[in-house]
């Protein structure tokens, strides 16, 4: 933003401090920003960003990748130095045509048609986890159900040994710390020797995940299988359709995004069902509500709170002039509670119709790759909970992550209840 702008924009209340999110999404502050005509400016470090908080404005940014680039600056709030941006560049931080090429490398595995083939696997894992949860009389829902379900499914798709699920969830938790103010790992953890600024999430856990991906690559080069890692390894070998760098980052992204986000949806979903027993009763009474209830859980959870774009040229949004290079941040957490887009947005409504939520992004080419997988996992979980007539009772407050980027829940105690 030019400091000499003719009329100073409205300043947004603080929404970027990760510690705010320890008490949940600061919805009142977002409501305040949504009410500002045009866009509000949010100071951040020595610069700032435009806070895009309304549903319609998020859609406009998300669906215009030419004007609002993913490749410039960074897709998180802070800018990266040029060498760090290149070292860390993944599918998330690219524009067409690189994005289109990389996306197609993995898109085939995640189409609605191909995701349906995983339904039996998802159900098998879900049944095992739910039955264990019931036999233990409950416990930490994150540890017992929400975390193991998605990681086991994505590892099955990748062809990674499910025995390593706990280790990879642990790495994912360290990665998320990189979006907060706390890093519990020393820089040389996991034998890391790379400068942290060159690693995704500034985290030595990225080094560990890259190393793990390299080992999988070596295994599948020696012995190809019918799995996603083999597919990527072949794409790299076959005329270099992807580079070594791109392989490492795709593996990193698939493991991380394939488990952390759906874990968050399932954690918040359980809390929503525990707090809204009447809505869960509706689903039990009408299995046709599994689908809208799945969408509502995903809207309710909004596992990724924001993504940033950067203006490629001078433009205008919601009547506010934006200068080339300005950071433009889409707050999905706010768009998914926009009074203009939803009737009674703060009500958890298992039968909500016309639920065009932005939990998978606001549309456009960066739409969540795993959207149909996430929907399958949540809907199978609901079906199996319904088959057991299982109600949840939440015991105490959840432990949330101090992150403005992911809506993470570290633990939440739940007990199963027989039908009310």
């Amino acid at each position: 933003m030019s400091a000499s702008a003719a009329s100073a924009p409205t300043l947004a209340p603080e929404i970027a401090d990760p510690r705010l999110y320890l008490d949940g999404i600061p919805h009142e502050r977002f409501a305040e920003i949504r009410a500002v005509p045009g866009l509000a400016w949010h100071p951040y470090e020595d610069d700032g960003f435009w806070a895009v908080t309304r549903h319609a404005d998020v859609r406009a940014v998300s669906r215009n990748p030419k004007a609002f680039s993913s490749a410039i600056g960074h897709t998180n709030l802070w800018d990266l130095e040029a060498d760090a941006l290149e070292a860390r560049r993944s599918l998330i931080d690219t524009d067409a045509p690189d994005h289109t090429r990389l996306r197609r490398m993995v898109a085939g595995a995640f189409t609605p048609k191909n995701i349906r083939r995983w339904e039996d696997t998802v159900r098998e894992i879900t049944v095992e986890l739910l039955d264990e949860f019931l036999s233990q009389g409950g416990g930490d829902w994150v540890d017992m159900v929400a975390a193991p379900l998605p990681i086991r499914v994505i590892l099955s798709m990748l062809g990674v040994p499910v025995a390593d699920a706990d280790y990879l969830v642990e790495l994912s938790n360290y990665l998320v710390e990189g979006t907060s103010d706390t890093q519990s790992l020393p820089p040389d953890a996991f034998g890391n020797t790379t400068e942290l600024r060159l690693l995704p999430f500034n985290s030595p856990a990225s080094h560990a995940l890259f190393t793990y991906g390299d080992e999988m690559r070596a295994k599948r080069r020696a012995e190809p299988c019918d799995d996603l890692v083999t597919h990527l390894v072949k794409a790299e070998a076959d005329g270099g359709r992807i580079s070594r760098h791109e392989y490492r980052h795709l593996f990193h992204l698939l493991v991380f995004a394939g488990n952390e986000t759906t874990r968050t949806a399932i954690s918040h979903g359980a809390m929503a069902l525990a707090a809204n027993g009447d809505q869960w009763q509706r689903v039990l009474d009408d299995p046709g509500l599994v689908e809208p209830a799945t969408e509502e859980i995903i809207r309710w959870a909004t596992p990724v709170l924001h993504m940033r774009r950067t203006a490629a040229a001078d433009c205008e949004l919601a009547g506010t002039p934006i200068a080339a290079g300005d950071k433009v941040v889409m707050w999905y957490a706010s768009a998914n509670r926009d009074e203009a887009a939803y009737a009674d947005p703060f009500r958890f409504d298992a039968g909500r119709g016309g639920n065009e939520h932005f939990a998978f992004g606001g549309g456009g080419p960066h739409l969540c790759l795993g959207a149909f997988l996430a929907r399958l996992e949540v809907s199978v979980l609901l079906q199996e909970m319904a088959a057991r007539r299982m109600f949840l009772e939440q015991r105490g407050e959840p432990v949330r992550m101090a992150s403005n980027f992911v809506h993470g829940v570290l633990s939440v105690e739940m007990a199963p209840e027989a039908e009310r």
């Binding site: 669906r63 197609r104 085939g108 189409t111 609605p112 048609k113 191909n114 456009g364 960066h366």
Partner: protein, 73 residues
């Protein structure tokens, strides 16, 4: 009129292989298994409201409505 049939087209350069079109309108769109690019199959015609939905849902903005056809019976 809402019953009008329109023809749809896929810009293969923009297609990111999301598969939304194939899910919504399997009679009209087919995703190539290897290239993961959508193409139009059959008549390529849809009632206008359905064509608008599938064009709107396409994450790559690769689907367009090219020409109005005859009104439906």
């Amino acid at each position: 009129m809402s019953g009008d049939l329109v023809r749809v087209a896929v810009d293969s350069e923009r297609c990111i292989g999301g598969g939304q079109c194939e899910m919504l309108e399997p009679e009209v769109f087919l995703l190539d298994e290897d290239e993961v690019i959508s193409s139009v199959i059959g008549s390529g015609e849809l009632p206008r409201p359905r064509a608008e939905v599938v064009a709107h849902r396409c994450p790559g903005a690769a689907i367009s409505i090219v020409e109005p056809q005859r009104p439906s019976e």
